[in-house]
Amino acid sequence: MKESIQLAHGGGAAQSAELIRELFFRYFSNEILLQAEDAAVLPMSGGKLAFTTDGFTVSPRQFPGGDIGKLAVCGTCNDLAMMGARPRYMSAGFILEEGFALSELEALVRSMAEELAHNGCQIVTGDTKVVPRGSADGLYITTSAVGSVEIPSLSAAALQPGHRIVVSGPVGDHGTVIFAQREGMDLQTDLVSDCASLWPAVQEIIQNGIPLVAMRDATRGGLSAVLHEWAQQSSVSLTVQQDAIPVRPEVLGICELLGFEPYHLANEGTFVLAVEARHAAELVEVLRTKTACHQASIIGEVCEGHQGKVILETAWGTRRFMEMGSGELLPRIC
């Protein structure tokens, strides 16, 4: 480990994983934590509970398609949904910078309330801290939530050769929108963040009785991070058809301009599913009934060999590894 925290430690790629493994897993080690799922599954009397947390520090706080308030609710509810859990109770911790406009705070809180309704979830406890001006960039929100597990055995370690990989929609929208809004970048698109609550889609899958193997929202680190985590935790390889991954033209445009790859860019509504082959087509069909998922696609399958790797098959029959992201997005000139 390097001696001090780098932005890359928060980027969802190799350095994030190292920090978690070398520091947090070492000191906080316990069976539940080491599952390293989107949400912890708690063995409580009376049924399993899922429990998760996320901190939200996104800048800018308002972006096409959402704001940090909406994100703080749907991001955390989604981590429950990804463990097959119905979001029920949420806590909200606000860290506010002295001088933060109350009108903006109110707008963000309203946005949170709206998103809670989409999840059937309630904020039942909270905390507010104010730090001196200059000690935060406006506001940070940390939400935690508890949900009741309705699909009991989802696990990133359960993938087996032959399982299919499904993505719920186009990748990279959120990351593209946020990067384009970065100060000084001067990039305009008509894109909106894919920021959305996923429990309704998961509920649809449950109601249609489709058994799932694993689910994960492709947030920081993008599609690539999810696929690599699954490959590693299940000790398999994943083979992905590059041209099956839905990507919007504007996302491709930014990638071409700045040298990024769509599968490294963050999403806030697009998620990845692993499913037995025989249920894959039906899963896609069910997903496509949901607006945000009408581009849902089978993008690949689980394979043996090359343990822990993700293999990309191009349209012209070449194969290569999908590379891991590298933490901080830096535009390239070469």
């Binding site: 033209p249 071409e256 012209w316 194969r319 590379e323 590298s326 830096l330 535009p331 070469c334």
Partner: protein, 374 residues
């Protein structure tokens, strides 16, 4: 061609690529000696690895990944300069994104010194330096300029604005390098196995493809200008195979929609106004190459960070790992996998030599896209 999207899609057409590749494969059976084609440009390396073009080639056609990535070839001491300037008081170091991750002698990159409090910013365009300087009148803004012929004019354009408007708080650390001297050095080194070149497409948009006529004639090898789409690269390979079969090596332009014989004269004039060749410049992995880099002309020394920061800039850097094979890789006589450090002591997050430094470097590209095994 209604829009850029259509053009790009057409140039990535799977059937076209497979058709081309199979045509190349058929023709290659007639080659007398194997082709070691150096794509000079890191952009081509990137395309080749990303689209797996190398895996479509027959046994006797191999790509040799050249020195055409500006951060890979940048000597470590210049990275140390950037870090040193970034940590001076009241100084803002601005660079293009590629520079941020490159480690200097101490293993620290600009990302690290930024984390430790230095004011380092990356920009998409050299022009983005202007608002930074305007918002920080009390600070010196150093633009750390890297790049080949394509990028040099953009630095020159920024210099032009700084001069025209008498801006007093922008200075320049110039690390611009040139393709032809590096190619000449490679060919003259004797030990190289390279017997054909794919010429950088966007460098040629500025320089034109004229400079490669002389090189082709002198060294009797094909120099084919190529675009960056898969079909472009395959077309260039096809031209090289044809030239080789016909034994008529020559400079040839397969990127006519972008590159002309004369190139962009306006850009070259602006470069010439502000820059002059250095007598020599050290290339990481290749060593000293005469007249291969630029510096600010004498009359702009008041803008030259190398002079202004002279008293603090380090003169020497640590050496690359002694087992590093970069030199051999760049001459086409070794592949990354043959280096004993590859993937072990040497990885993209802890590079030991120039080829691992940026994703355009040969070792980094193999590591990311091929692992040790695929």
């Amino acid at each position: 061609m209604k829009n850029t999207l259509e053009l790009t899609a057409a140039l990535r057409h799977p059937q076209a690529i497979q058709a081309m590749a199979s045509a190349i494969g058929t023709a290659a059976t007639m080659l007398e000696t194997p082709l070691h084609i150096m794509e000079i440009c890191g952009g081509h390396t990137h395309s080749i690895m990303k689209y797996g073009i190398d895996t479509l080639m027959p046994e006797n056609i191999r790509f040799v990944h050249g020195p055409g990535c500006p951060v890979c070839v940048l000597p470590k001491v210049r990275v140390d300069h950037a870090i040193c300037m970034a940590t001076q008081p009241d100084t803002i170091l601005v660079c293009l994104g590629d520079m941020m991750r490159v480690p200097g002698s101490g293993g620290q990159s600009l990302q690290h010194v930024r984390a430790d409090g230095a004011d380092v910013r990356f920009v998409y365009s050299p022009l983005d330096v202007l608002p930074i300087a305007a918002e920080n009148p009390g600070k010196t803004v150093v633009f750390f300029a890297i790049g080949f012929e394509t990028t040099t004019p953009t630095t020159a354009s920024l210099l032009h604005t700084v001069q025209a408007n008498n801006l007093s708080n922008i200075v320049f650390h110039i690390n611009h390098v040139m393709v032809p001297p590096a190619v000449t050095a490679l060919l003259q080194s004797g030990s190289s196995s390279v017997n054909a070149f794919i010429v950088p497409g966007h460098v040629s948009a500025i320089s034109g493809w004229k400079p490669y006529e002389k090189l082709a004639e002198e060294h009797q090898v094909p120099f084919v200008v190529s675009g960056f789409e898969p079909v472009d690269i395959l077309a260039a390979v096809r031209t090289i195979v044809t030239q080789s079969l016909e034994k008529k090596p020559a400079a040839h332009n397969d990127y006519r929609r972008v590159v002309s014989y004369e190139g962009n004269s306006r850009a070259r004039e602006l470069v010439d106004l502000y820059f002059e060749p250095r007598s020599t410049f050290p290339w990481r992995g290749l060593g000293d190459i005469p007249a291969s880099a630029l510096q600010l002309r004498e009359r702009f020394r008041h803008l030259d960070a190398e002079i202004l920061f002279q008293s603090v800039l380090p003169e020497n850097s640590s050496d690359d790992h002694r087992n590093c094979l970069c030199g051999a890789i760049l001459r086409g006589v070794a592949l990354p996998g043959q280096c004993q450090l590859f993937g072990r002591q040497c990885t993209p997050s802890n590079p030991q030599g120039s080829c691992m430094v940026s994703s355009e470097g040969a070792c980094a590209a193999y590591y990311k896209y091929r692992g040790e095994a695929l």
